[in-house]
């Protein structure tokens, strides 16, 4: 059975209603490990060995983060810079991450309609995540189409509850093997975590 590692990075979780709700819905399971990076490394000193050991022990790597300036928050970038190391994750002998799934769960202020070719931002979420996709590919990881909770500036409480519930079910799916890359095949950007509020 696959094991899921959730790398959660939010510098101000206490201010983020959406992410608090998502985290609350995280299933309690011995096959799902949560790493609250900003709580673990408040001064950005990532324990590289410990994190590499954890990555080795898991099959699905969920990068759960808000979408800051079309990218990841600084600590998550720092994490990737340090932990996805030469000779370990890539380069000669760098095979530790090979075959694992990298899966982004992002929260955005703008709604799904803004992340289209004709929308406000002019590109899809996957297009913005291209550098991260390349990073995963370079390390031999398999890229899963990202999930997004969007329109967080406008979403109501009941809607948020529904989204959080779906997030929890999805992680369950990864952990018990019912959600696989094959099943996700055909979907591109999966914005269905949240529908546009009416």
């Amino acid at each position: 059975m696959p094991r899921v590692l959730v790398l959660f990075a939010h510098p101000r979780l206490e201010r983020s209603r959406t992410n608090r709700a998502l985290l609350k819905a995280l299933p309690v399971s011995d096959r799902i490990t949560l790493r609250d990076l900003y709580e673990l490394y408040p001064d950005m000193q990532v324990d590289v060995n410990a994190e590499q050991d954890l990555l080795t022990a898991h099959d699905v790597v969920v990068l759960h983060h808000p979408f800051y300036w079309y990218s990841v928050p600084p600590l998550l970038k720092q994490y990737i810079d340090l932990v996805y190391a030469f000779g370990w994750a890539y380069g000669p002998g760098g095979t530790a991450l090979r075959g694992k799934v990298q899966f982004h769960v992002v929260t955005t202020g703008g709604g799904p309609e803004a992340y289209t070719a004709d929308g406000f931002h002019g590109h899809t979420l996957s297009e913005f995540l291209l550098p991260l996709k390349r990073t995963a590919t370079l390390c031999g990881m398999r890229w899963a189409p990202p999930f997004a909770a969007q329109g967080t500036h406008r979403v109501g409480d009941a809607e948020l509850e529904r989204i959080a519930h779906r997030y929890g079910r999805m992680l369950h799916g990864w952990a018990d093997g019912t959600l696989t890359l094959d099943r996700m095949a055909g979907t591109t950007d999966q914005h269905h975590l949240l529908t546009t509020p009416t």
Binding site: R12, E14, R17, L40, Y41, P42, G109, T152, H153, R154
Partner: protein
Amino acid sequence: MASFLADAVVYLGAAVLCVPVAKRLGLGSVLGYLLAGVLIGPFLLGFIGEEGKDIMHFAEFGVVMMLFLVGLELEPALFWRMRRQVLGLGGAQVAITAGLLGAVAMAIGLPWQAGLAVGLALAMSSTAIALQSLKEKGLSHTAAGRCSFAVLLFQDIAVIPILALLPLLAAAAPVAAGGSWIEGLPGWQRTVVVLLAVGAIVGLGRTVVVPLLRVVARTRLRELFVASALLLVVGIALLMETVGLSPALGTFLAGVVLANSEYKHELESDLDPFKGLLLGLFFMAVGASINFPLIAERPALIVGATLLVMVAKAAVLLTIGRRAGLGTDQNLLFGAGLGQVGEFAFVLLAFIAQLGLLDGTWTDGLMAVTALSMTLTPVVMLFNDRVLLPRVGTTEAPGREADAVEERNRVIIAGFGHFGSTVGRLLRASGVQATLLDNDSDQVDLLRKLGFKVYYGDATRHDLLEAAGAHEAELLVCAIAPEAAPALVDTVHRHFPHLKVLVRSRNRMDAYELMDQGVLHIYRESLDTALRLGADVLRELGVRGHTAHRAALRFRTYDEDALKELAARRGDTQDYITGVRAAIAEQEELLRKDIGLDLDDHDHAWDSQELREGIAAAQRNTRTTG
């Protein structure tokens, strides 16, 4: 009144003239005061004191005040923690020295009682001189410093039983005629009186003085508190004099009693401004009371006796120090520092004369010996520092292997204690070799064994800095005792202006002094640690780790800015507010300023409440206008 003012002008003038000169010459303030005393004394310029009477009056009050403060600093808890060192080292020093010098006195014809009394008096060392020189050199925390402190502590306490013992000796000796009313009593009764007086002070201190201070403290009038502290000291001095006992002993005891009370620190900080001045006065009085005619009459005898006493004391100290495991350097420091006869000897000799154990010529001569030995101490220390230690002790410069390439380090670390060593370890772990300077010889020997390049000595001396390569170095880390840091900065600014100095300071007050000197890189040792602890408290209370971390970092920036701001405005007040009160006033101002502080400012994250509200408001506007 006019004559009092004239006296004051003479004393203060001599001090202001001589002390800076002595310090400039590297002789230390103690010798400066002593020389000032000699200069204005009746036997040289004769500015003051008809035949020394006035001076001894002054001197006695200096001793009285100083012993009160010595007593106040004598914490029973500290004594208990150091009991083995205090009793072992101190007991051995007093017993062996008193026995040795007593035997010498008996050999030249004194009865055994007088011999023992003289031995005990001469066994005392000078707490004021020894501790002050150790502190000025920043050596208080070395092994020699701790041993010196232990021995001095024992001597301070031993004075009490010795003062009780002297009347018993007098009773056994042929009695001379005297003045005070206890003179008429048989010996055992005198001992009883001494013990009763001691008991009365201890008893009254607990039951009367402390409650009285509590009442005074409640009035919240600071000057009233100072007044009661002074009243206490002068009152006890008067009482003891009336009973015919030493006023110094009385106030010392009162100090010990109050050291236990909750007012210890208040008394200390209130009397602190008096302390330095009174010590200076005391040293000047000692200098002025040197009986030069007596010395002139029999110079060989007095000088010979002084040298004999000092050599004997030093020999005893060196033997004890060796047994206690002190290295050569530390032991020499220990022996040279405590080799003089101390201020308690004046007290004991006066009492001996009063009891008629010895006649006046003897005690006058011994007082001259005492004063002379105190005067010689800084010279002996200087000789030890400059001549003896460089030859026999830890060498100043590290030994050089024959074929080693002389490599110049870019960084010099002055002071390799807890703070400096942490800096040094970080640098070494990062591949940076630093040249080290330290004044603790044991530490230096150890570091050299571990392969560090260490120079030994006083880092404020420019020749040592030069030897350590200050001309070629780029950075100097100053982690020496905070008292000595300004002197080091001064030396660097004068001789090595190219060196960038990074200075550790203890607190805000130290930082101001360094800022006045133009130091740009000042690190308050209390700041970062306190903020780290504070951030952890926030985390324990449930604040997110990164948020607490950032709050601490933001607070540090804010506090550094506040420091600069306060430093700029500080010039107006520093002249008339003492250090302690300035610190309190400033704390208050900082606390007020903090009220308006928002560490969360500009730290919204993207999906904060504010952002949501802002967008909602914007949408409402669109709807109404559209």
